[in-house]
Amino acid sequence: MGPVVEITDLKKTYAQGTEALAGVDLCVEKGDTFGILGPNGAGKTTLISIICGILAPFSGNVKVFGQTLGKGRYPRKLVGLVPQDIALYPTLTARENLLYFGRMQGLSGRTLTDSVKKTLGFLGLAESSNRRVEVCSGGIRRRINLSVALLGEPQLLVLDEPTVGIDVQTRVNILEKIAELNKGGMTVVYTSHYMEEAQKVCKQVAVITSGRVLTNGALKEVLSAHKECGNLEDVFLKLTGRSLRE
């Protein structure tokens, strides 16, 4: 079986002239936990938006589950996205949100209710399920945000900085759940600013800045290629520099 995501010479320039991606090559194999790491404005969100089929046009070639984007139907049922923002309806409860997005995933009847129940249970949300999202804590909202993407049991889970703005406990919980999902066979593409976190979770990493891939490969290989650096954060700083970004 071919790679889950295969990207060749991907370029994306926004209408205002901002070059977000300047020739990206990446390959995500099935069962990987692939970390896309980069400073603010590196092009991470643009990259995963294209992978998820919600941003066009672009130049280059992107294949997801063997399907070339722009030609034929995008394999939506196989991909789950966890956006960086809490993409939920604040006045609906967690359950209502899940039911709605589950229906939009094509689930219905018993399959839907079972899926909602299973997902809420998996992320420890059963008790909060009947509370409106707007009154939930940041940590619970993050978990609900993740749970929506899991409803259709996707084969590829794309997470855009899923642990931003939450406490350590919730972060650890979310990372454990991601690891558990990966162990169950789900391919995970994950962007983060937290190198320590990425080092724990990812098997493969790509460091990008200004729309260019600086390094890409297995975590162990990346660390061994920069032996002078003690950890992934040092590698990251060495590659991307210490200067502040826009």
Binding site: S49, C52, G53, I54, R76, L88, F101, M104, G106
Partner: protein
């Protein structure tokens, strides 16, 4: 205090760096003021500039008829039409064309009016010269009095009707004075000499004391509303309830646009784009929901006209036309408003911009659509422009149903126009959304 000024500075920078926002804040109100001023002014300019057309049926053919035609033409009130297709207008022609909405009012001078005016004048002026006391020479009863009829279209606003009636009354008084003057001159010419030795003041007192004219004038003014049998006389309720309900309905575009923008800002729309759900389901659901809200809104307004306004001493709203056509007009108008709202939601990135632009657009559409001032009194150019207003189409349809007793066959063109506007808005919205690359490879 430092925080206050820092915030003030920040807001100043944000505000003046947002070109689109600046345009909305400054240009749109200017357009609004311009359009509303033009429309409002046009009510009076139209009257002065002979913009309106009045049918005059001169069955009299003598001085009164001629004086009415001349008086109307000279007054600058309107443009006088005495012939249709090259032949003089009959009373029946006037009735038919007003019922069809082609003309809004007509003045009918019945045959023999001048003769009857002369008779009345004679009776009124005899005491001046005979010395008989006026009290004994009461001017003839109203039944015998000459009567000019003013035919009014049922969709004329009550305010406009009152203005028109007052103007016609004034005109008739002027005509009476001319005829009276002629009569006096004729009679005075018959005397060889005044030679009474009385002072001018005494003469005046004597003459004035003996001249008795009815307070409401010699020529009576009758009103007629040519209409199908089912139609009641027009009232402000009959005109205002549908018109302003429509105005209110179109404000649905703000929550509709807000819904799209909020979803985009929240990220839920992006999330929906990643699901296999067809976008026609996502947007169709929204459209259906807001269209339903609009229809409920109209029902409530209708309920107010039917049940609440009579409690306040106003006439009850009466559905005179084909009731079956009303839901179709309401539905198509709601769909047009919602479609436009969706377009606003796709075009604008912030709710504030969409709300401001949308609200101003509604007011402009309403002003052009005859909600505030009837379209028929607008200058030619504005009349043409008013044809692009969806509120004008909906208002025309409601006028046809509520004021003229029309049915589906009378309003299908307006319904089609509203539906077309709605579909066009949705197509443009989709193109905008697609053009911004927000929906990736999704297709409806």
């Amino acid at each position: 205090m430092k925080e206050f000024f820092a915030t003030l500075h920040k807001e100043f920078l944000i505000f003046f760096r947002d070109r689109a926002g600046l345009g909305i804040v400054f240009l749109m109100p200017m357009v609004l003021v311009l359009v509303v001023s033009l429309v409002q002014e046009s009510t009076w300019v139209a009257i002065r500039a002979q913009n309106m057309e009045v049918l005059v049926v001169d069955d009299d053919g003598e001085s009164l008829g001629k004086a009415v035609v001349r008086g109307l033409a000279d007054s600058g009130l309107c443009r006088v039409v005495t012939k249709i297709s090259g032949r003089p207008i009959t009373v029946e022609d006037a009735r038919t064309t007003i019922m069809s909405g082609r003309y809004r009012f007509a003045v009918i001078v019945p045959a023999g009016s001048t003769r009857r005016v002369r008779e009345e004048m004679e009776r009124a002026t005899i005491p001046l010269f005979s010395g008989e006391k006026a009290a004994k020479r009461k001017v003839g009863g109203r039944d015998e009095a000459p009567r000019v009829t003013l035919m009014l279209a049922p969709d004329l606003t009550s305010l406009f009707q009152e203005a028109l009636i007052a103007n016609i009354r004034l005109l008739l008084r002027g005509v009476e004075m001319v005829v009276l003057q002629e009569e006096i001159v004729t009679r005075v010419a018959g005397f060889s000499s005044w030679g009474t030795g009385a002072t001018p003041e005494q003469d005046e007192e004597e003459m004035g004391g003996n001249l008795v004219l009815p307070k409401r004038g010699l020529v009576g003014l009758g009103l007629e509303y040519p209409r199908k049998e089912s139609i009641i006389l027009p009232s402000s309720v009959q005109q205002n309830v549908p018109a302003w309900s429509l105005f209110g309905m179109f404000f649905i575009l703000i929550p509709m646009a807000g819904s799209i923008i909020t979803e985009r800002v929240q990220g839920t729309l992006i999330r929906l784009y990643t699901t296999p759900a067809p976008m026609k389901a996502v947007f169709g659901g929204k459209i259906a929901m807001y269209t339903a809200v609009c229809c409920v809104q109209f029902c409530l307004m209708l309920g107010i006209g039917l049940f609440v306004l009579p409690l306040l001493g106003l006439p009850t709203l009466v559905i005179t036309g084909g009731a079956a056509a009303i839901p179709l007009v309401v539905f198509s108008a709601a769909l047009a408003a919602v479609g436009f709202g969706l377009l606003m939601g796709c075009v604008f990135s912030s709710l504030m911009k969409a709300a401001m632009f949308g609200a101003v657009c509604i007011v402009i559409f309403a002003a052009l659509g005859g909600i505030m001032v009837p379209v028929f009194v607008m200058p030619k150019m504005l009349k043409i422009i008013s044809n692009i207003s969806p509120l004008a189409w909906a208002q025309n349809a409601f006028t046809e149903i509520f004021a003229r007793g029309g049915g589906l066959s009378d309003v299908w063109v307006e319904i089609c126009a509203l539906l077309f506007f709605s579909v066009a808005s949705l197509v443009v919205a989709w193109i905008v959304e697609h053009g911004k690359g927000r929906n990736g490879f999704r297709a409806l």
